[in-house]
């Protein structure tokens, strides 16, 4: 009997979860945020159902404020995998021109991400949605089960979660309920990087260190990705060697100064870090908009 490495165990667990969802639900979808976790999840999905393509589409809830490199990568991956890619942008957000600068990060996240996700799930009737969230990212994610049930209104009740003993998942759901499924729950950021390295999984180049134009906002380095980023009077972006540990809307995602431009150097950096990658997300700094509160309202 051969013993599995910890990455092989995690991989097997994730693949089992994905197959379980496809077997037990009617209309699953994979939420694709274009980040590294999504890249790993997509890779696992392809493995789980090979040689056929995964039997569910990819859903990208777009806010119109992602990095340009993310859009390019998303389209390339959809083409390479041959999977259907559904891009949903909250039409109300477009009408009202919701953006992180005028409306603030909380409203932008609520309208463009939370409401946008709920709209997309309702519109296409998805009853299960895979997400790439991990327990080590943030404390409210740590206590969320792998199969996270949501009411018909997409609300999450952290006090009413099902036990998942011995990795047995109760997928029975009431009418109107849906499930958010997190196959990477038990992975850590380091696991993700090691797996990307070992499996040679393509990721958005923003994860690698390079010189990029950045400005400082409240101690956070924000990349000036396009001309929509309002600069302060007289401000000139500096070119600094930075990379991203997490990717989201570019005005709300902090870069870190780093020289890690290869996967081994990123892994080495990971081994030395003692902060969560979510530290780079501006939306997580606002205590009034804590992750748990956002999740209870339907955020991923």
């Amino acid at each position: 009997m051969t013993s599995l490495t910890h990455l092989q165990r995690l991989e097997a667990e994730s693949i089992q979860i994905m197959r379980e969802v496809v077997a037990e639900t009617e209309n699953p979808v994979m939420l694709y945020s274009v980040g590294k976790d999504s890249a790993v999840m997509l890779h696992l999905a392809r493995k789980a159902f090979a040689p056929a393509p995964p039997p569910f589409p990819l859903l990208h809830v777009d806010t119109r404020w992602k990095f340009r490199a993310m859009y390019e990568f998303r389209d390339r991956m959809a083409e390479e995998t041959g999977m259907d890619l559904i891009v949903h942008i909250n039409p109300e957000g477009i009408d009202k021109d919701i953006n992180p600068f005028t409306h603030g990060s909380a409203i932008h996240t609520d309208v463009m991400k939370t409401e946008g996700l709920k709209q997309a799930l309702d519109q296409y009737g998805f009853d299960a949605a895979f997400g790439g969230a991990r327990r080590d990212e943030e404390k409210s994610r740590a206590k969320e089960r792998i199969f996270s049930f949501r009411t018909a209104q997409h609300r999450w009740d952290p006090k009413n979660q099902r036990p998942e003993l011995w990795k047995l998942y109760n997928t029975r759901k009431h009418k109107g309920e849906s499930i958010r499924v997190f196959p990477l729950s038990n992975w850590t950021e380091l696991d993700i990087w090691q797996y990307i390295y070992l499996q040679n999984i393509p990721i958005v180049p923003l994860y690698y260190s390079a010189e990029r134009p950045v400005v400082e906002r409240d101690g956070t380095l924000i990349m000036v990705d396009d001309e929509r980023m309002p600069l302060e009077p007289g401000e000139v972006p500096m070119m600094r060697k930075v990379r991203f540990r997490t990717l989201g809307c570019y005005p709300l995602t902090g870069a870190i100064e780093s020289d890690a431009d290869t996967l081994p150097s990123i892994i080495q950096e990971m081994l030395l870090t003692n902060t969560s990658e979510r530290q780079g997300r501006v939306i997580d700094h606002d205590s009034a908009a804590s992750m748990e509160k956002k999740k209870a309202e339907g955020y991923f």
């Binding site: 390079a210 010189e211 990029r212 134009p213 400005v215 400082e216 101690g219 000036v224 001309e227 600069l231 007289g234 401000e235 000139v236 972006p237 500096m238 070119m239 600094r240 100064e257």
Partner: protein, 250 residues
């Protein structure tokens, strides 16, 4: 003592003694006698004594807290026109004026290096020989401009802006943003700011450089394309050639 014997050696040579005989009589080696004689023939008696080695009397052996404080304060200020930034000579002069402390420009450069404030200029000639993106950039975009500015009798500068000091974000240590220039033979001119330089800081620098005629400035570390103020200034100064170092050229 050495200089007295060198002078004596020259006198004996003038009297017609051979190099070997002079060496024997003065106790100097034959090459030293020859060197003293050569110096006399080229520069007269004044050229015969050799310069004293080591620091001059009274010159500091190290910079104390007070002197370093003066240097930091000066670096945080903008120097008087027409100087674009502080050179090591300027800093040494400022230190002498303020503390009566004699410090050589070289010692200032050592201090700048110890503080992480001594960036190296790009080796354009070396890059031009490379078959790489950087090499192509130098050959196609830099060299034609430099030739044009050289023909017009203008000045060529390199420069940049960077975060000096701790590379990682250590909250307890202050961050410094360093503006720097490299002039002829890589001479360093610099100043420090407590926050990222604004368009006014860059314009002050560019304006002072532009006063000296046509200029080519190869600059690294700022996204000038995003600054309308600087773009306007450049449009009004056609003799000023600002060449941004592309991100993939380094």
């Amino acid at each position: 003592m050495l200089n007295a014997r060198r002078l004596e050696a020259v006198r004996l040579r003038l009297d017609g003694h051979t190099v070997a005989a002079v060496a024997t009589r003065t106790g100097l080696s034959a090459p030293t006698v020859s060197a003293a004689w050569k110096a006399f023939r080229q520069g007269g008696w004044e050229a015969v004594p050799v310069r004293q080695r080591g620091r001059r009397p009274g010159q500091a052996t190290s910079l104390g807290d007070r002197e370093q404080g003066v240097l930091w304060r000066r670096l945080a200020e903008q120097p008087e026109p027409p100087r674009p930034c502080w050179s090591s000579q300027d800093l040494a002069d400022a230190l002498r004026a303020e503390t009566q402390q004699e410090v050589s420009p070289r010692a200032i450069e050592h201090w700048l290096e110890a503080q992480g404030l001594k960036p190296s200029p790009l080796s354009l000639e070396g890059l031009a020989r490379k078959r790489s993106i950087a090499g192509r950039w130098v050959r196609q975009q830099v060299q034609p401009v430099l030739e044009q500015v050289n023909k017009a009798g203008g000045a060529i500068w390199q420069g940049g802006v960077r975060v000096a000091g701790p590379a990682t974000s250590v909250a307890s240590l202050p961050r410094r943003y360093q503006l720097y220039l490299h002039g002829k033979r890589g001479a360093l001119y610099t100043r420090c700011l407590p926050a990222p330089p604004k368009a006014d800081d860059y314009l002050a620098l560019l304006t002072r450089l532009a006063e000296r005629g046509p200029v080519a400035l190869i600059f690294h570390g700022a996204d000038f394309q995003a600054s309308p103020e600087i773009q306007r200034w450049l449009a009004n100064h056609p003799d000023f050639h600002l060449i941004n170092v592309p991100t993939d050229a380094l």
